[in-house]
């Protein structure tokens, strides 16, 4: 019997990378899981890989749109009858550049993708969780939610904003059986990292490998992290045993962030 038996979870950006690892870990612990992504074709491959039958359900949607965010949460409730665990996991950035050259569009894209998507899904999910007096929200922050790096200020600002939202919401619902926590992974070579890393590296004046080496070099373990490491923490936070942890920002970064 898994620690998430009978729970319903929703993971945005759940078809690959960290989101997919969390979905798999939740399924292994007995939860029913909605995974979200933009592309139904890509999702099919992920669903096949999970091989979880009726326990996993895909909802297509673009997390940069409020209506889609709300539809993903509502769709979870409609399909599985509840939403117990929300993981607003999707995120990223684009057109990285130093602040002096950062465009409004690039800053806005990172804020919508990371922060607004987290807010929209959190608000919608809390409205289901509060009357039921049970819930777990696990936001996807980053080591960059605690630290800063040049040329990725849009991403850094958005992840810091998620940490603030997480702490504030935790205080609002603390007595209602609902916890709100952030996980702060160090660099992981996910598909998103492989797609966006070269651009971020260029904005920092580095090669892609140089970027990865910089992240690893800042840590105590001197290597990158894995999606499964993050998933193990998500399971703990989502479980009944996680009831006493809220408003926290748990680092899975090999000893990188100073607090």
């Amino acid at each position: 019997m898994g620690v998430l038996e009978g729970r319903v979870a929703c993971v945005t950006g759940g078809t690959r990378g960290i989101g997919l690892a969390i979905a798999k870990a939740f399924l292994d612990e007995g939860a029913k899981v909605v995974i979200n992504g933009r592309d139904p074709a890509k999702a099919q491959a992920s669903m096949d890989g999970l091989a979880a039958g009726d326990n996993v359900h895909f909802i297509a949607g673009d997390v940069k749109l409020r209506t889609d965010c709300e539809a993903i949460v509502q769709g979870t409730v409609d399909h599985f009858g509840a939403i117990d665990i929300l993981v607003p996991n999707a995120g990223g950035g684009s057109d990285y550049a130093p602040v002096a050259q950062m465009t409004d569009e690039a800053m806005n894209d990172a804020m919508v993708w990371n922060f607004w998507h987290t807010f929209w899904t959190m608000r919608a999910a809390l409205n289901h969780m509060i009357p039921r007096e049970w819930g777990r929200i696990i936001t996807m922050s980053s080591v960059e939610g605690k630290m800063g790096k040049p040329a990725i200020s849009s991403y850094v600002a958005a992840k810091h904003a998620i940490n603030g939202l997480t702490k504030s919401a935790a205080k609002e619902v603390g007595t209602l059986g609902i916890t709100v926590n952030a996980v702060c992974p160090g660099a992981i070579e996910t598909d998103v990292m492989m797609a966006q890393g070269p651009g971020a590296a260029e904005a920092m004046g580095l090669t892609y490998q140089g970027l990865l080496d910089m992240f690893a070099g800042e840590s105590a373990v001197k290597r990158l992290n894995d999606a499964e490491d993050v998933a193990a923490v998500a399971v703990l936070l989502a479980s009944d045993a996680g009831a006493g942890i809220t408003g926290s920002m748990i680092s899975i970064d090999g000893g990188t962030s100073p607090y």
Binding site: K171, I245, S248, G254
Partner: protein
């Protein structure tokens, strides 16, 4: 019954009751062998009887504020089970705390030995065993007072801040050697030791009594209740497991949303 710690060997200072006991039981449930430590031989035996884990559990009598006891626990564990994979430096507390202006040298030195030196002695001894094996977990029971401060418990606050620094520094020393070093920072828990020393601590803190002290701590949290030992034990299992190989130098809060960072 899980298997996340199958084949692992753990030792826990202050392991016969409260947080340490909950960690011991959680580790046993995940397949580890565990040595628990405490001062009282009779309590130790009762603890072993209650846990009912047979050869997978042992007791080592000793005072965690004494270097010989802490090092003796590490050596005994390695002797008994052939290795040490997980060292939980959990014991700690205050005896007769007071505001700085009234703090006695005796109490101050006791708290330094019990809460800080004990962690250093245990960490040093276990790292000397873990480094050649390139594998290990050190888990320190710190406190919400390792990040915050309250009046009337200056020794406790100081030593818990200090162990957080020790944890971060050691984590960077052994980060590439398969060893993680982390602290768990629980909020207030109504453990035996809090129930025993709490009434005196409350007076040192300028409060009317024990209940008011518990209320003060819980009001600072988001969940408005004390934490539970099982909540700490679940985090200890995670940190001890293979899945936590990339969590190190971390100050892991289990405080119901009390700490600001």
């Amino acid at each position: 019954m899980g298997s996340k710690l199958e084949g692992k060997v753990a030792c826990i200072t202050g392991g016969t009751r409260s947080i340490g006991r909950a960690i011991a039981e959680a580790f046993l449930a995940e397949g580890a062998s565990v040595v628990v430590n405490g001062r009282d031989e009779a309590k130790g035996q009762r603890c072993l009887d209650e846990m009912g884990a047979g050869d997978r559990a042992a007791f080592y009598a000793g005072d965690a504020s004494k270097q010989s006891s802490v090092e003796g626990l590490i050596d005994f564990t390695i002797d008994r089970y052939g290795q040490l994979d997980i060292c939980c430096l959990n014991s700690g507390g205050v005896k007769m705390t007071a505001p700085v202006a009234q703090m006695t040298d005796e109490e101050w030195l006791l708290e330094i030995d019990w809460n800080l030196n004990h962690v250093f002695w245990g960490m040093r001894r276990s790292l000397q065993h873990m480094i050649p094996r390139q594998s290990g977990r050190v888990i320190v029971t710190s406190s919400v007072e390792g990040k915050l401060g309250k009046p009337g418990i200056p020794g406790y606050v100081t030593t818990k801040h200090a162990v957080n620094g020790l944890v971060k520094s050691a984590a960077h020393e052994v980060g590439t050697q398969g060893i993680t070093v982390n602290a768990i920072l629980p909020g207030i828990i109504e453990t035996d030791i809090v129930r025993t020393t709490g009434p005196d601590s409350a007076i040192a803190m300028g409060l009317e009594g024990y209940d008011q002290m518990i209320a003060l701590f819980t009001q600072e949290s988001a969940i408005k209740r004390p934490n539970r030992v099982e909540e700490v034990a679940a985090v200890a299992v995670l940190l001890a497991s293979d899945a936590a190989r990339n969590i190190t130098g971390c100050l892991f809060p289990v405080d119901g949303g009390t700490m600001p960072y």
